[in-house]
């Protein structure tokens, strides 16, 4: 047997300096983000390593007034904020699970970031930049990574027209639009979760949405939508859509049933599941129509659970808004 086949290891020293870069990158994966900066100042080679290695972060939040970058809820950066944000995406393999953005400075991210932004969940609290730059930023979101997109402010008709052409929009499984605007229903079909606030909701749009769910395979409990709308839609308007498809819908006696409050049950393609649709006057403004995939023997509690579910990134933004500022901890590190 050739005794030289382990020569590859001969020059390696059993120290941090001696281990190969690819192994160091695995170590960095398990090193908390804030400790990376302490390693960064240890030597020139470590500075280079940190500046050029990929980053995996659970949560990155950028807020204005004051401009602050919050990372993983335990690191607050006030200096060179945008440069730092750009630095996160400097490596093309960097990934951020949840990115919450609320700053005019985002234009820089759209103009200066060279790599696709590998983000799973994007939350745009405000846009604060030209429509052109916002679209440019949106186009930088990696279409293969994105799962969820949320907008807190209104989207203009023109902006929606351009957003729906991007890979990020097409591939997002969850879309949440909290500004009040009408979105062409054809652009939100096939999502696992959709929430929006319409001005005028057309019954045909509702039926399209329902049909896209009940004809899908592999549905999971909780998939569905909630739309708040301001125009009046009667039970007859809703049922007009179902009449083209006789026999698939069952009108359910519901404790709140009135002219504007009703509940329907639809069969779905997934075993032991049904789709429950409910419509009622909203507690806040206008009316709500919501429907979720439920288990066959569903209860009101199950339906309510899906209706009251909010994603983690929405919880975080709501919490920060309630507190009135976006400082989370004393400054740990100013870079």
């Amino acid at each position: 047997m050739n005794s030289n086949f382990s020569a590859k290891m001969t020059k390696l020293e059993p120290t941090w300096q001696g281990i190969p870069v690819e192994v160091k990158e695995i170590v960095l994966k398990y090193l908390e983000y804030k400790w990376r900066f302490r390693l960064r100042v240890c030597s020139k080679s470590d500075k280079y390593l940190i500046d050029n290695s990929r980053v995996f972060l659970k949560q990155v939040e950028l807020y204005k007034n004051p401009l602050v970058l919050l990372i993983n809820s335990d690191l607050e950066i006030h200096k060179n904020v945008i440069a730092h944000l750009l630095g996160i995406f400097k490596s093309k393999n960097s990934k951020v699970k949840s990115l919450i953005l609320d700053s005019k400075q985002l234009a820089k991210l759209s103009l200066e970031s060279e790599n696709p932004l590998k983000i799973q969940e994007a939350y745009f609290k405000t846009f604060g930049m030209s429509q052109q730059n916002f679209i440019r930023l949106f186009q930088k979101i990696d279409g293969k990574s994105i799962k969820s997109i949320s907008f807190r402010r209104n989207l203009s008709e023109d902006l929606i027209d351009q957003l729906v052409k991007t890979d990020a929009w097409k591939n997002a499984l969850r879309i949440f639009c909290y500004g009040r605007q009408d979105i062409p229903m054809d652009h939100v079909l096939g999502r696992n979760h959709f929430r929006a606030q319409f001005i005028n909701l057309e019954p045909i749009g509702i039926w399209k949405l329902i049909k896209s769910i009940i004809t899908r395979d592999n549905l999971e409990s909780g998939f569905g939508f909630r739309i708040n709308y301001l125009n009046e839609i009667s039970q007859n308007d809703i049922e007009a859509g179902f009449k083209e498809n006789p026999g698939i819908v069952r009108n359910e006696q519901w404790q709140f049933s009135t002219e504007h409050s009703c509940s329907y049950i639809f069969p779905v393609n997934t075993k032991n599941r049904i789709f429950v649709l409910r419509m009622r006057r909203s507690g806040f403004n206008g009316y709500d129509i919501e429907g979720y995939v439920c288990t066959e023997n569903y209860t009101d509690d199950e339906f309510r659970k899906y209706g009251s579910w909010i994603p983690k990134n929405h919880e975080i933004v709501n919490h920060r808004i309630r507190r009135g500022n976006f400082h989370i901890v004393n400054t740990f590190l100013n870079l």
Binding site: M1, Q17, I19, V27, Y30, W35, C42, S43, D46
Partner: protein, 188 residues
């Protein structure tokens, strides 16, 4: 399962002893291979355990050695310390055919040993064990200051690094000059 015995050389290894196998013998007899490190101690390891190492698995997959041939041709890992190779072999045996747990608490705590293990495991391409080791290396510096990190991970300062590099260059230059002089002497 693995046992070791001091061998004399990689070409003629000493007969290794083996611990009794599991009572339920497999239908197809399991094949075994032999490895040794710097200390020449030969370890008998089953092909199943060696599957953890992509390097060794790749090497043995087409060998078709008989028991005798395998015994006569142990894999020499001259740059892996004996105790480190023993740790690797033990880990492979413990996790043979089992899903690896999310944590492994049996890794060495001393930094020198851990870095030695990292190098060996990376060379042998044992992905899961490398992940555990890297986690452990990362844990070593959690909450430490840059000075403490330098000390724990034995990182020289830039000044020390430059001085060492200069020294190495000087030494290499002297050696090269010596070799040239010797070659000139030989030519005369």
């Amino acid at each position: 399962m693995s046992s070791t015995e001091q061998g004399t050389s990689s070409a003629a290894p000493a007969e290794p002893t083996t611990a009794p196998e599991s009572a339920a013998a497999p239908e197809v007899p399991e094949s075994f291979y032999y490895v040794h490190g710097k200390d020449k101690v030969v370890h008998k390891v089953s092909a199943g355990a060696l599957q953890h190492s992509a390097l060794i698995h790749g090497m043995i997959s087409n060998l078709g050695y008989t028991e005798e041939q395998a015994k006569a041709n142990p894999f020499p890992f001259e740059n892996i310390d004996g105790d480190i190779l023993q740790m690797v072999v033990d880990w492979c045996n413990q996790h043979k055919g089992k899903p690896t747990p999310p944590e492994d608490t049996n890794l060495p705590k001393q930094k020198e040993k851990l870095f030695d293990l990292v190098l060996a495991v990376n060379y042998l391409e044992i992905k899961e064990l490398l992940t555990y080791c890297c986690k452990q290396v990362a844990m070593m510096v959690k909450g430490k200051s840059p000075e403490e990190i330098r000390e724990i991970w034995m990182i020289p300062t830039d000044a020390e690094d430059e001085a060492a590099e200069k020294e190495a260059k000087k030494r290499a230059g002297k050696e090269a000059a010596g070799e040239t002089a010797a070659a000139a002497g030989d030519a005369k």
